[in-house]
């Protein structure tokens, strides 16, 4: 072992690393990056542990990114006195999670399922389903060692901006290189780094800079267009769809049999996304049929004036301000549609009827 040089080398390495970490942290703080938690399997598992204390005032939310952006947990908590349990997984189908909750004999709580048709009705075995399955598989195997690391990591993530796995890693920077692909290769979409941040309670929000910057919004629209280009022109049908609907029916029935409640919600989309969804997933074939087969109540944003007026800046998710307004408008509608008591102090509101 090269003793003398090791001491000097270790000191130099420690010094350079410390300088880098401090400089890197200050740089990204200067760029307007907030503290954000990595929305990984451990964070999901820690949230999954809390589902047994759910109630109408504190429902479990499943779905994909839209409900994570569109239901504002602070607003919900300010009205109900309790915070919902966010189990939605970005880019994933909620169907496996619905099935899992149906099969969990201990779950007899309240569930709100966000339906983004392109993800909810994703074909069996597709990667959108696999992402959800990955979380489900990881949960029962969440070891004591992983839990310890998760809590230590939480302490660091609550203080350091640079620990952002999605945006501030070697791979994220390499992905930004302008390298043309071979014809036919489906490359990853280029998301704006200011688009999505994540709280410890798994609330997603877009930054003020993103809300104010149409160039960033256009970058996200291009990303959605790119992802949409890989989608089929029409959603699944036939026996595959029937099987999916039956799976959902079975899970809803299981939860209800145990005294639980289930509500489906369709959150807003705009622009090209809305057009694509309307074309690929006609409402009568998918949304209406889902409600009919499961027998569960549903709230489609387009049916209610209080929900229909929101515009998504990048076609698919609401701004933080709109998310708060959307949540304020959604809660009375949920109460009305389901009879659940959510608000700690309900105020008399004008009856809202579907269009």
């Amino acid at each position: 072992m090269p003793t003398p040089s090791l001491v000097k080398a270790s000191l130099l390495a420690a010094l350079l690393t410390a300088i880098f970490v401090v400089g890197w942290e200050l740089y990204w703080r200067g760029q307007g990056f907030p503290i954000s938690y990595n929305d990984d399997a451990s964070l999901w598992a820690s949230t999954r542990k809390r589902i047994y204390r759910s109630s109408p005032a504190r429902p479990v939310l499943i779905g994909s990114s839209r409900i994570k952006f569109d239901v504002d947990l602070d607003t919900w908590a300010s009205l109900s006195g309790q915070r919902p349990i966010m189990l939605a997984v970005e880019g994933a189908s909620p169907r496996p999670i619905l099935t899992d909750l149906g099969n969990d004999p201990a779950f007899r709580g309240t569930l709100i399922v966000d339906v983004t048709e392109g993800l909810f009705f994703t074909p069996p075995g597709a990667r959108q389903e696999r992402w959800a399955m990955d979380r489900l598989r990881a949960y029962p195997n969440w070891s004591l060692a992983q839990q310890l690391s998760f809590h230590l990591n939480r302490g660091l993530e609550s203080r350091l901006v640079l620990l952002d796995e999605n945006k501030l890693t070697v791979n994220a920077f390499l992905d930004e290189l302008p390298l043309p692909n071979r014809p036919g290769v489906f490359g990853p979409p280029r998301f704006s780094p200011y688009f999505s941040f994540n709280s410890f309670e798994r609330q997603s929000w877009m930054s003020a800079r993103f809300v104010a910057d149409t160039a960033m919004q256009n970058q996200m629209k291009a990303a959605w267009r790119h992802l949409g280009a890989g989608q089929p022109q029409h959603g699944v049908g036939g026996d595959t769809l029937v099987a999916m609907l039956q799976t959902a029916r079975r899970a809803v029935a299981q939860i209800r049999r145990r005294g639980g409640h289930v509500l489906f919600v369709r959150t807003p989309s705009s622009g090209l996304y809305r057009q694509m969804e309307t074309r690929n997933y006609p409402r009568a074939e998918y949304w209406d049929r889902l409600l009919a087969v499961t027998g569960a109540p549903g709230i489609h944003y387009a049916d209610y004036p209080a929900l229909a007026g929101f515009e998504c800046p990048e076609w698919s998710h609401l701004t933080p301000r709109d998310a708060a307004a959307f949540t304020r408008a959604l809660i009375p509608l949920v109460e009305q549609q389901t009879g659940w008591i959510i608000r700690a102090h309900p105020v008399a509101a004008a009856p809202t009827v579907p269009r």
Partner: protein, 497 residues
Amino acid sequence: MVFNSYGFVLFFGVLLVLHHLPLAWRIKKINLLLASYLFYAAWNPPFVLLLWLATAVDFYIARLIAREERPVPRRLLLGVSLGLNLGLISFFKYGGFLLDNFTALLGAVGIAFHAAKPDLILPVGISFYTFVTLSYTLDVYRRQAPPEPSFLNFALFVTFFPHLVAGPIVRPADLIPQFYTPRQANRAQLLWGLLLLSLGLWMKVVVADGLLAPVADSVFGVPFPLAALDAWAGVLAFSGQIFCDFAGYSTCAIGVALCLGFVLPDNFRYPYAAIGFSDFWRRWHITLSTWLRDYLYIPLGGNRRGSARAYLNLLLTMLLGGLWHGASWTFVAWGALHGLLLCAERLVRGWTTRRRGQPLPAHAPVAEARVHHAAIGPPFPAHPLPGRFGLGLLTLLLVNVTWVFFRAPDFATAARLLRAMFGLLPSAPPLLTTLALLKVGVLSVGLVGAHWLMRDTSLARVAARVPWWLLGLGWATMLVLLVLTQKSSSSFIYFQF
């Protein structure tokens, strides 16, 4: 607990402090033992019971074997130890596999048999600690080592956390004597250990998980035919991934042990610069290949019972070596391929040696101390550099072909990959991005180049030659890249074996 986790950083920090307190050596060893159980239990606490069972049974049976002079009772006692160790591993690791094959066999002769498949969790590291305890009992049985009188020393030998779950597979002589006298790392050992830990983590977190695993996962995960370029890139990515994952773990383990003042055997010596398959196994997972040589190949007769028997022994050893890696026929195929390649090499070597009129090289551990343990078979004869490099590239190519069976989930995927690699498929749509291809290309060339530059030297020798500032800069670069990759807590591939 994995080395690449915040939990381990806390665990190791506390343990280092405890180990450097002015406590009695026995107390320090108890600390290490308890810490090792904690390290293991952090995955799944009940499996510590299996570890205790294997430790207690092998400790006491080895003492009885040493005391017993009559051959039959000695054999019976050995049988109990082998039965327990191999029984545990067979039940947990191969139970489902055996049941599947039994069902398929009955089905083939027209008997419909359906049994509920046991839903067993594989205790992490069971293949590794089983081999550790087996080597102890077998050494005592063969009177190559006396039984260890101290239960604490023996328990620590089996359980010492740096090697417990993924090796290096230590032998009694490697580790037990180190527990006899107080050990504490001096400053140089501590720093060198930390450097090795940083290097191992960099290999695992940055290269294996961060840069190569997504490419390999993508290529081995698609259910459709691939273009040749994509198939090769996927296989090369896995080739780099598995080396950096496993050698990274071993490097971490050696570094962590050194920080505590203990020396573990080397497990890798730049295997992608191997010339021939004997050389490859002298450089890849050295502690496994030497274990197989000493406890399987040589007891089977090695090459002492004629040429045909030597080939058969080689094949059998590698088949079982393949099966050790996992309960699947794809692993058996991987082992069989390596066995065949070793046989082919032996055949060619014998033929070329006879043509030159030279005697066959002795089939014994090589005298050169540079290689800590010899593998199965003598090294390939030396050639001028271009020839050696050519043979090295041929070895690498064939090693990559064998990796297909190792990584593919089934034979259909393996066949699809191989057909794509050798252009036997009609044109298929391209899969990988230019960036992915560049990552694989640059890292593969870098990895193989580094192995060739390092193949006849060691990291310590190189570190001693380079200026301190360059060493510090390289170390800092690894740490910065670790911060920039942030993929913590993912398991090492070899944990599943």
